[in-house]
Symmetry: C2
């Protein structure tokens, strides 16, 4: 049976629409530019273009440089057409995995120190990616965008990432202050402060700004 087009297949196909890439370039490019919208493993990103070839949406040929070969992939007109049909399906719901929050939610079998360490780790992970996006924007101003005609799209996307990172960082600060007032992780329960927060949230108001 012919393989099935997944969202990941369309992601790779969309990259191929920009220019031909080698398998390796594709894995690097996809991991860098799609990390905060569609994070996929290197392994998968090596497999996807092969599937596209099987479907007739891309062609491949080997290039040699000395004793080394690499696979170059190029989109076909069938591939371009398939890309156009991507919009036909309903967008999948967002999916957010943050182990740090899971640990926080069950922080009552650890110490306050554990909670602080978890918050530090989350901050460090987010900070790294936050910086990477800021640097990328600086490079757009400096050397320009690798695909100049697409700048409006990647900049709008970057706006999302920056907003997201800032929000998470603000929340981490907020959470640190809250935790500072906890005598322990366990059995604290519905304190006055927690009730105040619950009331704000039930009214859909932000406790960070009120």
């Amino acid at each position: 049976m012919t393989p099935k087009m997944t969202t990941s297949s369309y992601a790779v196909l969309a990259l191929l629409d920009l220019k031909p890439w080698t398998g390796y370039e594709l894995t690097q490019q996809a991991q860098r530019s799609l990390r905060y919208a569609w994070p996929k493993s290197e392994r998968l990103l090596y497999s996807e273009p092969k599937k596209l070839v099987e479907l007739g949406y891309a062609t491949t040929h080997k290039e040699t440089a000395g004793n080394r070969t690499r696979n170059v992939y190029e989109i076909t007109s069938e591939g371009r057409q398939a890309l156009g049909e991507w919009t036909g399906s309903r967008t999948e719901a967002p999916r957010i995995e943050i182990e740090a929050l899971l640990r926080l939610l069950f922080a009552d079998h650890g110490s306050i120190e554990d909670v602080r360490r978890t918050l530090d780790e989350l901050e460090s992970d987010i900070g790294e990616h936050h910086q990477a996006v800021v640097d990328l924007m600086a490079s757009y101003l400096d050397g320009g965008h690798p695909f100049p005609s697409r700048a409006h799209l990647s900049v709008l996307f970057a706006t999302f990432q920056i907003e997201m990172f800032k929000t998470i960082e603000k929340w981490i600060e907020f959470a640190r202050h809250e935790v500072d007032d906890w005598p322990d992780t366990r059995d604290l329960g519905m304190t006055e402060r927690t009730e105040e927060l619950t009331r704000l949230l039930a009214q859909d108001r932000s406790p960070l700004t009120h």
Copy 2:
């Protein structure tokens, strides 16, 4: 070989630490309460407690009600100890999957209308979850928390979710306004407006508030 404890195993073990649950309850509870920190499929959530039993971290027995049986799982003292050792490992980096953003990033092979539809779908998905959290907070005020001593933890977690949802919703509004000024999805490139946004982002300033 004995099975390996994954983050998902610890998530289920942490739930079992609260009280004994049936397999079905576990799937429902985990899907409701962990959706925005550690989203897992129903199928997996049926398998995890079995693994915990195999590891000696939980016991199981069948309860019958008429012609129907259900599996009840209970944590063991070995399970409680294993939970305590969870903190030993480094927290995994956050992982955010938003297909709508992927489509936006490659919006240049579709129409402006496609972009607007994608934004609408994202808004609708986020709005649903946003409302669910607000309702949950109202229920805490009203009927109380199912595990009162843990209220401080779930409310702090809910704060994160609300901040996140509000940020995404604000960004969607922002993106709609930006797109309103686009004559087309393609070849727009580094317009004055895009350059202005890039400059703000490169300085780590939010275009939504400036």
